[in-house]
Symmetry: C4
Subunit: 211 residues, 4 copies
């Protein structure tokens, strides 16, 4: 009965990860404005799909919103599946559209990368919980801007250290495209899941009337 929502989650995650791939996998290297493109596409897909599915497009966000009580568990599982399926589809399409473009998997160190993914996944989920689920911010027009530009800031800040995914589906898409190593996925997942959980704990601690 929620299949329209799963389709929107697929579409949003697909365009997010397709855009990431297309601005990074290039003969002359990543576009200087890559972070702007990535944050922008996330923002616009949130504004388009927010009223339908909540516009997570990110398993870490689905985890945080579910723990927050604003997404049901029976929805959470197909949400994550749709997001990951979108990652694979987007990654394969990027490779198909860029034959012969060399891709080198980023070398990352576990501890610093976990710290960076933890921090900005925390920031992303904390922003989402406050701008999209808190009673005091109901009816605002800035939720997509806030969420999208968190990823712009995060990508510019920590991409050299962790790749700047803040999103397990993005990490999977990165691995499909060869930008990240499959053997490094655990690094992303650990940082991102703990970041999402911590965001829920802090949100509960600091927002007294969450609604």
């Amino acid at each position: 009965m929620g299949i329209h929502k799963y389709l929107v989650e697929f579409l949003g995650a697909f365009f997010l990860i397709f855009t990431i791939g297309m601005v990074v996998v290039r003969p002359d290297g990543p576009h200087p404005l890559a972070a702007l493109a990535i944050g922008s596409v996330l923002m616009v897909m949130i504004y388009a799909g927010g009223h339908i599915s909540g516009a997570h497009y990110n398993p870490a966000v689905t985890l945080a919103v579910t723990l927050r009580g604003k997404c049901s568990v029976p929805d959470a599982i197909p949400y994550v599946l749709a997001q990951c399926l979108a990652a694979v589809a987007a990654g394969l399409l990027v490779l198909h559209l860029n034959p012969g473009v060399p891709v080198v998997a980023k070398v990352i160190q576990p501890a610093p990368a976990i710290i960076c993914e933890f921090l900005f996944t925390f920031a992303l989920c904390f922003v989402v919980l406050n701008v999209a689920t808190a009673k005091a911010n109901q009816g605002n027009s800035f939720y997509g801007l806030a969420i999208g530009f968190t990823v712009i800031a995060g990508a510019l800040a920590v991409a050299p250290i962790s790749g700047g995914a803040f999103n397990p589906a993005v990490a999977i898409g990165g691995a499909v495209m060869g930008l990240l190593k499959w053997s490094d996925m655990w690094i992303h997942f650990v940082g991102e899941v703990t970041g999402a959980i911590t965001a829920v704990l802090v949100f509960r601690a600091v927002v007294h009337d969450p609604g």
Copy 2:
């Protein structure tokens, strides 16, 4: 009786295509922030003209909004004519203001270009239908931001493959300026029209109370 609306469609499309031309046709090549300029001018013209004509500035958007039932067929035809006329006028003015600047028509491959134009025209129309016509989003202040920044993301993502028009009037303007080949127009039109139609179908499928 709708001539004030056709004039606004002309003006919005004119400034969009004039800006595209001026940031791309330069002695030293496209400006590094070209995508920002293009998305910005679209955004501001949408905020200026939205309350008058709906601010399509794009035959693909007019097609999608008409199929959605929010633009009448008798309006749709002069809308598209005004947009295409604006494209010719803007293209000629860009050439007039840049005498002697060399312009090389982009070489594009049909299949990848159609995929890219399809995808981001779909995204653009899906964003428009949701942020500017869906009941749940009435009265928001983000519609221009969402639509304009879809083009920023799309232009950064796929311009190397298709030119990044997502708009038949922009494609025509590009051909007038010599940035695209007249013989490639069908590639744009096929991708853009099918993208617009698909956006309407998906919108109908996922939005249960469109208003």
Copy 3:
């Protein structure tokens, strides 16, 4: 009795023109993000001062808003004086803070420069009239974003041809700093004044219930 409004007009124009000078007058040439800085400072000063003075910061905007009937003539004159005084003050401070930085006055051709200043001053005033004075858009949160980003698009599009002022006070500030020639001021004034007047005429023609 409106001196608080004139002070706000001075402050907004001062920060606009000071920022323009500081991002352009540099030992290593204009900052690549100069247009973003300029549009941003205009946007934020509009959001800060809009509720006090209407946040024109531009004699062309004051002319348009006065012809539109939303600024009184007794206010319009001190508004323009405050804006021009701010331009001189900002220009002198930029020179004071950048001793020895070479400044070369832009060489512009009258006809193309008038066309470009006309077009984007028209766009700027048309955006202002619609987002800040039209009844249908009352209470929106996007007016500063729309106005500021019009200048981003315009500066990126036509700065190579006209300097990209769209504002007689900015032109004066540019002349104080040596970026423009005093003998070229008429070019800016002609394009900007006719752009502002045309925006009012078009606004009246296309908006049936302006409020």
Copy 4:
């Protein structure tokens, strides 16, 4: 009893200063989009935390808002402590994540640096007071955009002269990272504190019904 607010002030200031450090302390020098990252992270943290603590993240803003009567003195002191503690923590983490990256403290001249820090701290506080505390702007969705983009404009305009902090906690974080000299802290503090106080005085003079 306000510890949830102090935690939010810590988090917002931490992410602001961590992002500043990560986009500036790099093997190949500051990222070209550093200012966009910095303004973006400030914007998103304001949207996330505004409803909890008021989202100052800056002792100069806390000073201005307290003088304005919208922050109690018993809150102001722990706010500033939380912001400064966040600066130290963020600075140390940036150094930990970038071992061996050379950092050279900026050489600044007192008088020009004080002018620049004064001007944009004034602008920042004047924007904050108007968009986040003035009665006429209640319920708007643009407050974070306006405040964050003030810092984008300011950083692009005056960073070469003063470093572009506009925030004593940012100055301290810069000193921890070695980007600024401890012996230059007074320059920042003088400019920033006088800028904040002046903003309150001007706000009182120009806003007749502040609420």
